[in-house]
Every structure is written in C-alpha cells, then in structure tokens.
Symmetry: C2
Subunit: 85 residues, 2 copies
C-alpha cells in the first residue's frame, strides 16, 4: 500500500521542480515543515486531504492532478484510520 | 478550508449510492468504522491519502475522481500537519 503514496510524492516533486520551488518554500506556503514535505515526496507520509489541497494550490494545479496515476497501487489490506509505517 | 472536505464527501456519497453500497459495506471494505465514513461524507474528516485510495478502489473509480471539484475550496490558512476541527 506504499505505492500510491510514492506516486503522489513523485507528482508533488515533479510539479514543485517545474515551478522552481524549493521544498522549504513549498512547506512554508502550506504551513508544513520542510522535512515533512521531503517525506511526502519520498512517499513516506500518509498526508491528510487538507494538505493535499493546500499543496495543489501552492503548485497551481487541481487537487486531482496530484493523484494522477495513483490507481496503479494496490489496496491489499485495510487502510485503517491512522497512518501506519 | 472545510469546503474541499465537503466536496470530497459529496463525491464519495454520490458514487457510493450509484453503486448501491451502504456506508457500513463501504466502511468494511476499507477497514473503517461506519460512523467514520458518515463523517467523511459530511465533510467532517480530514482523511489520509491511503483511505482516499482505498475508498476509490472500493467505489471502482480512479482516486483522482474523488477529488473532482475540490479546487473550488479556499486555502486561506496553513493546512497544518494535523487535522483541525
């Protein structure tokens, strides 16, 4: 179930670099820590929908654009209510 | 910042009803509680990306479809790392 998070992270990184933004700048816009944005881009963070929407706004794309290609991942276990590592 | 969550909830509810699934059945598929799915549909839950992906799989749509029309919301404050009510 890590794969969708990795696909999401790749989308964020690609769009961030296209806009010439640093992780720190992107983090600042959304009130996040730079290391948290790094974790998102590595697919290590099961971020909440509000943060997805804020990242999309900062990157000037529709939120759905950040979820592009996520459907290639597997959902082999219940996702659960809280993030799991 | 509640509006994107409400738009997401409306999308989930519409697709769930189109498929003739109960909240309980949808919750079971994703390992969530029925009341949590109710909260999602009412836009009260800042759910994580894994749950977005699992709900999309259960509803047989690409994850990006569940984020349709979310870009009409506002991001007037930092989203923060943790959900806020």
């Amino acid at each position: 179930m890590a794969e969708p998070l990795k696909a999401f992270g790749r989308n964020v990184r690609k769009l961030r670099m296209q806009k010439g933004l640093s992780q720190e700048k992107l983090a600042d816009i959304c009130g996040l820590h730079r290391t948290y944005v790094g974790g998102i881009e590595r697919g290590e963070r099961n971020l909440g929908l509000r943060n997805v929407v804020c990242l999309a706004k900062a990157l000037e794309v529709p939120p759905s654009e950040l979820l592009r290609d996520l459907d290639r991942g597997k959902c082999t276990e219940p996702a659960g209510r809280y993030p799991r590592r």
